[in-house]
């Protein structure tokens, strides 16, 4: 029995590594195992296939030449690449020319020592208006075997607009774009086109050049570790130690001073490698990519059906209430537009910074009868004396692009939500927390108080729970690579802790304590206290702390509890 379990597990591991299992070359030990392996393949067919790596076409054509079926006759030497879907791969010559031109114009005289390497990258990126690249995302296993997970055709500009098409891999055919007015996703297989508001857009595609340079600028340490050639380009290899998480490497083009490749540290025997195989620079993203068109046969799904209105009174007439807020935009901002979400009767006011239009804020107002329940991942603050939920790095599944993985990156969007006089207010903005405080003061005349992190909790636990910081550090690394995301939710961590206290032998089936029976008493982003509202629970309060990293990517650890009276 044990042997069968092991064989089956190894078989699954081999398929997951995209390697031919040894069992495919010899008879199965038993009909039962044969049937189980067949079942594994059937289940796995629910996944999209892993497509071959770059060069497969030319390899096969070359193989056919050697084995005979192809006769080289006359002028029949055109490459099969002619017929390949993505013409972009062929643009390398033009791209190299453009890269060289930019290099000469902007950076030729810059030295490229370690001390100013980030500055050189920043200067370099300053001169870029828009760029286009073919981005290959691959994993490398412990044996050094590289597997290409997906290939993206990326267009992006400095205004935050982008057009990302998956041209190989699991999401082949998926296109996501944001033209600053609308965001949309085209799913070729499902023939559907989903439309979203352009802001807030929590997605940052993997290996966005501007974001990478910003990460490098904020790194604790950067050192040069070698030189390499990527897609014919000479690069300098840098090792970056970021503020949090594992060190990683970036390959910076010696001429353009822009990153061409990023590779994560090895964790759980897996590394991620992202490479721009082909980069070109342009003045703007082509118009045809930035205009929303509905292909024949596609169904349009509007995720937020909204009606634009010309005044707050008109919005009030549709929503059925007139919001009691200042109609003056906060200093430095102007009201861009007002709309009403017709299904939810939510009024939305869009603000935009007057100077450059980069900073944006959306204020949503709606009537509510339900009590205020802050999100478990939020910091709890106040506006005036009203409890307020503050989320400093908004993550939203709606309309995000799959495939970013651990490199999807964080964003600069924060959200503030509170209730007052049977109305719920939610402000989502790409403004710094300090700027947000001023914005709210201008709009509502009240102070936003964000609890200061690192402050010692006012109340301490009656019983302290010991922990091993090395174990916690390893768990943090594991969570950074996508495992156990529940460790980022203090309520979930408290639920597991209380449940294990109630069932020390392990949890079978449902947790003995319900998630909804736990409430957040306080959370300043570093320390949190969770109250347990269940008469069966032996614990009344759980005390948690972000021990390893004190931001929204840091795991929570139970450091103490109060027993039930």
């Amino acid at each position: 029995m044990r042997k069968k379990e092991k064989i089956l597990s190894e078989y699954i591991d081999s398929l997951n590594a995209e390697i031919k299992p040894a069992r495919h070359g010899k008879p199965a030990e038993s009909a039962e195992l044969e049937e189980l392996m067949d079942t594994v393949r059937k289940v796995r067919s629910l996944r999209e296939p892993a497509m071959p790596g770059d060069g497969f076409e030319s390899r096969v054509i070359s193989g056919l030449s050697k084995t005979g079926p192809i006769h080289k006759k006359g002028a029949s030497s055109k490459s099969s690449a002619k017929y390949a879907r993505n013409r972009v791969w062929q643009k390398s010559l033009a791209a190299v020319a453009t890269i060289a031109l930019i290099a000469v114009l902007a950076y030729f005289i810059l030295p490229f020592g370690n001390s100013n390497i980030v500055h050189a990258m920043e200067r370099s990126f300053d001169a870029v208006k828009a760029y286009h690249g073919i981005l290959e995302i691959a994993t490398i296993d412990g044996q050094g075997q590289e597997t290409i997970q997906m290939v993206l055709d990326v267009w992006a500009d400095k205004e935050g607009r982008y057009h990302v098409a998956h041209i190989e891999g699991t999401y082949d055919g998926l296109i996501t774009a944001n033209n600053g007015r609308t965001k949309w996703q085209k799913r070729a297989e499902e023939k559907s086109l989903n439309v979203f508001p352009a802001f807030p857009d929590p997605y940052r595609f993997a290996f966005e050049l501007g974001k990478e340079i910003e990460l490098a600028a904020n790194a604790i340490e950067i050192r040069e570790v070698g030189e390499d050639t990527i897609a014919g380009r000479q690069t300098t290899v840098l090792e970056v130690t970021p503020q949090g998480g594992l060190s990683y490497r970036i390959w910076v083009d010696k001429e353009t001073k822009l990153p061409l490749r990023k590779q994560s540290g090895m964790f759980n025997a897996i590394q991620y490698r992202m490479t721009y195989k082909d980069v070109e620079f342009a003045d703007a993203i082509p118009d045809e990519l930035m205009s929303l068109s509905v292909p024949d046969g596609f169904t349009v799904v509007d995720e937020n059906p909204m009606q634009l209105v010309s005044s707050i009174e008109e919005a009030g007439a549709i929503a059925g209430f007139l919001p009691a807020i200042s109609l003056e935009a906060p200093e430095g901002f102007e009201i861009e537009r007002i709309a009403v979400e017709t299904e939810t009767k939510t009024i939305k006011m869009y603000f935009i910074s007057s100077s450059d239009g980069y900073e944006k804020a959306v204020l949503s107002l709606r009537r509510t009868n339900s009590g205020f329940e802050p999100d478990a991942m939020a910091v709890l603050g106040k506006i005036g004396d009203v409890d307020t939920e503050i989320i400093l790095n908004v993550q939203d599944d709606l309309g995000t692009i799959p495939g970013g993985g651990v490199y999807g990156g964080s964003n600069d969007i924060c959200s503030v939500r509170w209730q007052h006089d049977a109305y719920e207010y939610k402000l989502v903005a790409n403004i710094s927390p300090e700027g947000l405080t001023v914005f709210i003061k201008d709009l509502f005349g009240k102070e936003l108080t964000i609890p200061a992190a690192y402050e010692e909790p006012q109340e301490g636990p009656m019983i302290k729970v010991p922990y091993d910081i090395e174990v916690e550090k390893n768990t943090q690394k594991s969570v950074d690579s996508g495992s156990s995301p529940w460790r980022l939710d203090p309520v979930y961590v408290a639920q597991v802790f209380v449940s294990l206290e109630m069932s020390p032998g392990g949890i079978e089936g449902d947790y003995p304590i319900d998630y909804d029976d736990l409430s957040i008493l306080s959370n300043d982003g570093v320390n949190a206290i969770i109250e347990v509202n269940d008469p069966e629970s032996p614990i009344s309060r759980v005390y948690l702390e972000r021990l390893v990293r004190q931001d929204d990517t840091g795991i929570w650890t139970v450091v103490g509890y109060d027993p039930a009276p």
């Binding site: 390697i19 071959p52 497969f56 193989g63 002619k82």
Partner: protein, 176 residues
Amino acid sequence: MEEKEFAKLQEGDRESVEKLFASTWKDIYRFIYYKVQNREEAEDITQETYVRALDHIRRSDKKIEKHVDFLKTVSLNILRDRWRKRSRRGTMVGIESIDPTETAVEDSSDIVSQRELIRNALDRLSEEQRKVIELRIIKGYSTAETAKIMNKKEGTIRVLQYRGLKALAELLKNSV
């Protein structure tokens, strides 16, 4: 395909072969991958499919109308050959024993309905068995990662996986 184009293919004209390959390989590769569920083998069989198919075209008098269907049948023959080779009592079956120009290839709607059957069967497993199978096979996590996510030991994950697959095999047998 026009007579002229087909004749060029029969002659082994490189441009015609490249054109055929570029326009069909993704469909063929996906079809094979669906059967073998790993990239290494799928690449290998895709390559062999074109070698055998072009050889067949060169030696055959029959004009091939539907290239993708024809190529899928050739690849099925290769798969059957390989599986028969490793079967204890199996016999070798060559490409000529199943005529690729006449054999019907399973339709993509069959694949869709099989996926539906699998999803339904998965839904009927116990919560833990379903979760292990989803994490290990559909999401591709290792045993160690799955154990961490489910807060269980690796040995327990292997047992749950084995039992889940046995239950699933039974459910799939009964749903056919």
